[in-house]
Amino acid sequence: MIYIKNKTKTSLLSLILLGMIMCGVLFTPALASSNYQSTLVKGTDIFTVSEYNDAVWKTTVNNSTNPSNWFEGETNITGAKSKITMKGWRDTTWEIYDVLTGIFMTEFFSLEEIYPLLALMNNLGYNETTINANYTNNYKISYGVRSVWNFTSSDYPDEQSYIDGIKVFKNPLDFKSMLDDYSNLSAELNEKLFFTPYSFPSLNADEFLWNLALNGLAIAKPQSEYLEDLIDELGCENVTSSGSTLIFERYGETEYTVEILYGNEGTISSFLVKDVDDNIIFRIVSTNSEWIFYITLIVLAVCGVVLVAYIIVKKRKPKI
């Protein structure tokens, strides 16, 4: 009797456990598809300028610049390397003031200009409280901090070149409301700042996304859907996506294309500039050394197992 009772209990418990596992298996993809997940990982990516054609750059992109305008350091030297270490991140919610100071102002103003401009805006009645009260959108983001070593053709210095922020907005649809809020707010501010040396530039969706892509935009998983949603919602005209690649059709001296491939972690994996004939003008590729780490671990584990096996065999061997 007790045996049957125990057996029923065990069966019931097994059923409940199986049910819980099945529910987990069934609901996880459903939940994941409705929410974008940040995939940032701590570690270092190494970026290498694998190709650069200065002559074609001058005739296609800009006659008076080189890639250093986009990426700091010796980006105009093939073989130059840069290093970015993701230090960590925090999930937080941004309001429009954070977006204004953390994205738009850092793109258009230098650090020396930002503080006097914020003081001036405060005097005009535009401080954090008033701006957030008038523009009430909230944005959920993962804000990461990273150490960046500028591109160099020699050895990396011990100290990083600068510390940078990286933003993963959890919802790609937020970009549209961000741009709309910025457009309204900048129009208001430009009126008030008319007699000052400061003015906020007006941005279209393409320029907004281009500036974001160059200044620490990371994307969430699933990446292809994220990029599609982002482009559709913003209504970009000259930006498309293909899988995890963001493709910008741009115009400098002549037309050219920029392809930004996002890796598994949601950060830039490769950056490619091509002319209309698909000739590569400039290319950055990224690598990381994780595989060396894992190979070392495997070698150590194998050595450990061999050592233990050797000791066991030696101990079991009868002494003659």
Partner: protein
């Protein structure tokens, strides 16, 4: 040929003692090794699984943070491994044997080397773990400063071991040696250092202190090397230093200079070994 055979015969007892000591201290070694790996793994890997716990800015800073515990590990290891080298011989009366089967000096040297190998292995494993994690998070190449720090850590271990061996040469029991050396190294030097800094501020560097010399292990990782090496922190009271609360200044020597630190570690090693040998000889008489 004959001379070579003689020297081999002379070394053999030392080698046998080393092997015997390695086997004898096996459990202690495994315990320390497990603790060392656990600390390295917790600090370098588990802690970093928390996204909001930020990695250090650079590889050398990561090593610097990871090595904060190295002085504790080396200190405890030195006290526990080397405390019984000489005094246990007298505690168990083996040191008083008039015609021993093995030369007593060879026995002591063998015991010392055996323990030194084990402690060095513990330190090496910790540095290796830290190096691998540094490579994992910051990619290569591994900063050469880690190797300098490793060299100084080994020198520091030898200095600590000579200090503990010196105490072991005149103390009565192993336990008393462990307790007294731990108290001196953990608290004694720190308290005296603080008193010296309070009295002399930046005019007198506590170069007599082994724990201060040990700060070179992490100090060498700083970029650039600290200059000035004596810093003062001022805390303003009510009124920001001008009001009734006034202010007080707290001074600290960060690290000895590289040349001076290494020289004094070597001096410590030589002096304490000579003293230990002298006391050991006297004790036998």
């Amino acid at each position: 040929m004959e001379k070579r055979t003689y020297s081999l015969t002379a070394i053999k007892p030392v080698l046998y003692t080393v092997v015997f000591e390695l086997k004898k201290q096996k459990k202690k070694f495994y315990f320390f090794l497990a603790i060392t790996i656990l600390i390295g793994f917790l600090l370098g890997y588990i802690l970093q699984l928390i996204p909001s716990s930020l990695l250090a800015d650079t590889q050398t800073e990561f090593f610097n943070t990871g090595l904060q515990f190295i002085s504790f590990i080396t200190l405890f290891a030195a006290c526990l491994f080397f405390s019984g080298i000489i005094c246990s011989e007298f505690n168990k009366k083996t040191g008083a044997i008039v015609f021993p089967k093995i030369n007593k000096y060879k026995l002591i040297v063998g015991k010392y080397l055996g323990n030194l190998i084990l402690v060095m292995a513990i330190i090496t494993v910790y540095y290796f773990l830290l190096g691998i994690l540094g490579f994992y998070y910051y990619a290569g190449p591994i900063s050469p400063k880690l190797f300098y720090s490793y060299g100084i850590a080994l020198l520091y271990v030898i200095a600590l071991s000579s200090f503990v061996t010196f105490f072991s040469s005149f103390m009565r029991s192993v336990n008393i040696t462990i307790i007294s050396t731990l108290i001196i190294l953990l608290m004694g030097f720190s308290i005296v250092d603080q008193i010296v800094v309070l009295i002399f501020a930046g005019d007198f560097e506590p170069l007599y202190s082994l724990s201060y010399l040990g700060s070179l292990i992490t100090g060498i990782l700083n970029t650039p090397f600290p200059d000035p090496r004596y810093v003062e922190f001022t805390f303003g009271g009510e009124g920001g230093g001008f009001g009734p609360g006034g202010h007080f200044t707290f001074g600290q020597w960060i690290t000895p200079s590289i040349g001076m630190g290494i020289t004094l570690l070597v001096v410590n090693i030589v002096v304490f070994f000579i003293l230990a040998a002298f006391l050991f000889k006297r004790r036998q008489l």
